[in-house]
């Protein structure tokens, strides 16, 4: 796990609140069930919101660590799948070239 110090929160406080509120909504339940066939899990957003408030008010090191690890876990989860293709080091060379008929 990467070092969490020095650390700056990835999102503002209102973003955690908005994510938690969205996660608990009936509409999100429907979307999530339609997509994944199961109930959404919103508890982590609630914990993160509580940690953010704790860190903001009391500069709690424990709260900061918890929040940092939670965000790192989200990043790791997003990278869990194996890629089918190789990533580029630079964009395609012909992306900005004029179209063939424009070149004639």
């Amino acid at each position: 796990m990467a070092d969490c110090s020095p650390w700056q929160p990835r999102r503002p406080c209102e973003a955690y609140r908005a994510e938690w509120k969205l996660c608990r909504s009936a509409r999100h339940f429907l979307h999530h069930y339609y997509f994944h066939g199961e109930r959404p899990a919103c508890e982590q957003w609630r914990r993160d919101l509580a940690s953010f408030r704790d860190w903001e008010e009391r500069q709690s090191a424990e709260a900061q660590r918890s929040l940092c690890e939670s965000e790192q876990a989200r990043v790791q989860a997003a990278r869990k799948h194996i890629l089918v293709w190789a990533l580029r080091q630079s964009p395609p060379a012909d992306w900005h070239l004029p179209l063939p008929q424009e070149d004639e």
Partner: protein
């Protein structure tokens, strides 16, 4: 245009809105046309080309899915220019659009795009292909798995398979139905650009599904609607700030 397979740039990845019948490779007959003016049959106030251009402009300026994709592509070194990278054309069959990898251009089928919401979805779908082309070595021409992967991602992330769209297609299902839709539409998209059997296309989708369905780049999440897309865009804009601190 004769039936040669390279007339339509074999590397193209077709868009959505496909009929059940197998669509031949002659989808974009005007790709090499010499500037024929596009006239709608009932021109009313705007021609179909003008409508396409206006809807495209509105999509690029206001749709949160598209704005995120444009930002992500710029970030990857593929800034999108409307006049260079988009083309409104008449297309055969019922295809709504496609990405032409050999010219790095998105084709919008002006005769098949019905309204603004449809344009939003088509542009999102094709920009996902363009984004994949920009960030990865996607072998559109000879690697069926690569094509299948990009089609799975496009069907998954563009809103093609939303509950409402599926209901309009009379495909009723709820629990995990989205995944069924993504598999089906990815298979149809492959069949539109490759002269292969449905089973081969389906097997390619099955092989890559687990990996590509869970690849949410650049959204970071499945954008169920515009609210999620806006949240995703906000997160994308904060990425640089976050990753500089890890």
């Amino acid at each position: 245009m004769a039936g040669a397979p390279d007339v339509r740039r074999p590397g193209s990845a077709a868009g959505e809105q496909l009929q059940q019948q197998h669509v031949s490779c002659q989808v974009f007959p005007t790709r090499l046309a010499q500037g024929n003016p596009q006239q709608g049959f009932l021109s009313s106030f705007f021609t179909s080309n003008e409508k396409c251009q206006l809807r495209l402009l509105r999509t690029l300026e206001t749709n949160p899915y598209v704005k995120l994709l444009l930002d992500a592509m710029k970030h990857s070194g593929c800034a999108v220019n409307k006049d260079r990278h988009f083309s409104c054309e008449d297309c055969n069959g019922n295809v709504s659009g496609g990405f032409d990898a050999s010219t790095s251009q998105i084709v919008l089928c002006q005769n098949n795009i019905r309204n603004q919401a449809h344009m939003n979805r088509v542009v999102t779908h094709e920009l996902i292909h363009a984004f994949d082309h920009c960030r990865a070595h996607v072998d559109w021409f000879t690697n069926l798995r690569h094509l299948a992967c990009s089609e799975v991602r496009a069907a998954n992330l563009s809103g093609d398979c939303s509950l409402v769209n599926e209901i309009f297609r009379f495909h009723f299902g709820l629990k995990q139905h989205h995944q069924t839709c993504v598999r089906d539409r990815a298979t149809l998209s492959i069949l539109a650009v490759r002269n292969i059997s449905k089973e081969v296309a389906k097997n390619a989708v099955d092989e890559v599904f687990e990996s590509c369905f869970n690849d949410y780049e650049p959204f970071g999440r499945i954008p169920h609607n515009k609210t999620y897309a806006r949240y995703a865009h906000r997160d994308f804009q904060n990425r640089d700030r976050y990753y500089s601190n890890i």
